[in-house]
């Protein structure tokens, strides 16, 4: 139980995947203009990360290691992720068409989201238990969701503020992310 709590706090607040490990910056900046689309993106990413952690963990430990093919892990992982995204797309389309319409083009883009591959690589090198691997993936996804929704909330306020011309768009979003990152830095000593 204690380890699960440590993973929960660690993955969401202390080692937030976006704000401290710099993974998934592209969707973080690109899809954070509206809170709703940010939330949808976060949920879809969480789903894919959690599933891909389990899948890559199993393939790595039960296929690649026995066959001595560890050097192929990058290629194999990216294909597992691409396949999972495809399956997720079909499943969501079939069972929840409303959610599918809401997510739109963000779904296929998850394949090239580095949070997913990054988390899969971390999990296979650090975790020895499939349940903790799954839980870590889930919490990482929640951390991503938290960060992207918070940034979307901040960026809405930019529409009403005066921003010097060169800072408009990407630069001000990065500076907002810097301040968020400083705020998350305060969680460092929790664990």
């Amino acid at each position: 139980m204690n380890t699960f709590f440590t993973i929960l706090i660690g993955a969401i607040l202390v080692n937030n995947i976006v704000l401290t490990q710099f993974l998934g910056i592209c969707p973080f900046i690109g899809v954070s203009k509206k809170v709703q689309s940010a939330l949808g993106m976060g949920i879809a990413v969480t789903f894919v990360i959690a599933l891909s952690c389990v899948a890559t963990y199993m393939v790595y430990n039960y296929v690649l290691i026995p066959l001595n093919l560890v050097y192929l892990k990058t290629i194999v992982f990216i294909f597992i992720i691409a396949g999972l995204v495809q399956i997720t797309e079909i499943l969501i389309k079939h069972f929840a068409p409303k959610l599918f319409n809401a997510l739109g083009i963000y779904l296929p883009l998850i394949t090239t989201n580095c949070t997913v591959l990054g988390t899969a690589l971390t999990v296979t090198s650090q975790f020895t238990n499939i349940f903790t691997a799954f839980f870590y993936g889930l919490c990482t996804g929640l951390g991503f969701t938290l960060a992207i929704v918070l940034l979307a909330g901040i960026r809405i306020k930019f529409d009403m503020a005066y921003i010097p011309k060169p800072f408009r768009g990407l630069p001000i979003a990065l500076i907002a992310a810097a301040i968020m990152s400083m705020a998350f830095g305060a969680f460092t000593s929790i664990i």
Binding site: Y71, L117, M182
Partner: protein, 243 residues
């Protein structure tokens, strides 16, 4: 002519500061100049190779499966790179960690494959890989230099222990994650301002040229009219011309 334009693209459309591509490795590995440089060179290598192969195969790959095909090509080169780095530069390979494998999902590489290599000849695609890759190396090194020199007061790459002398107090936040976002944001704003100035100058030039051309036309007209007048005058006073 076209080749020159492609080469200039790396500078004018800087992948990181202008196109906002490949920010994850830029932020993640720019805590020291050394790791930034090796990350940049690794990306350059993969970009040139993948652009070359994708451009060679651009007429063979069916467009419906092109993205998985591109990812497979890129992943192959990344694996080659990982093996080479682990064998010859084990320390750097350890320092870069996951970011080396994550070149696969670096948006610069897939972005250039989709936007350029899938539509242009092999030679131009390789040039594009070189120019975009060098643009990436430039920006990641600029970030690494700033963060390491100001944030830690060292430059490990050149074995310098104190850049600004012992009395300098390093701005420690710059080597922390928050500093990465901050420095990248400030550089992006700086480059925006510079590009804006350049565009303004070009527009000013064009505007001035337009005005000159227009005024020239007006001059021509007045001259013509004047000539007509004088010719009329000449007709009226034929004696002056004979003089």
């Amino acid at each position: 002519m076209k080749a020159r334009q492609v080469l200039l693209n790396g500078i004018l459309q800087n992948p990181v500061f202008v196109l906002a591509l490949g920010m994850c490795p830029t932020l993640g590995t720019s805590t020291t100049l050394e790791s930034a440089l090796f990350m940049g060179l690794s990306t350059l290598f993969v970009l040139i190779c993948s652009n070359f192969i994708i451009s060679l195969l651009r007429k063979i790959i069916p467009s419906s499966v092109r993205i998985p095909a591109y990812i497979l090509i890129v992943a192959t080169f990344v694996t080659v790179l990982e093996i080479i780095m682990a064998r010859f530069l084990p320390e750097i390979s350890m320092a870069l960690g996951n970011y080396l494998a994550l070149i696969v999902v670096n948006c610069i590489i897939l972005g250039r494959a989709e936007a350029f290599a899938s539509k242009n000849s092999v030679w131009l695609s390789m040039l594009d890989g070189i120019s975009m890759g060098l643009g990436f190396v430039f920006s990641i090194c600029l970030l690494g230099l700033t963060r390491e020199a100001l944030g830690a007061n060292t430059l490990k790459l050149f074995n310098i222990d104190s850049v600004f002398g012992a009395s300098y107090t390093p701005i420690a936040i710059l080597v922390k994650p928050a500093g990465g976002f901050l420095v990248l944001g400030l550089y992006a704003a700086t480059f925006n301002a510079i590009y804006e100035q350049i565009n303004k100058k070009n527009e000013d030039k064009k505007f001035k040229q337009k005005i000159k051309e227009q005024s020239r036309k007006v001059d021509d007209k007045t001259i013509l009219e004047g000539q007509n007048k004088t010719s009329q005058g000449i007709q009226a006073q034929p004696k002056e011309e004979s003089l």
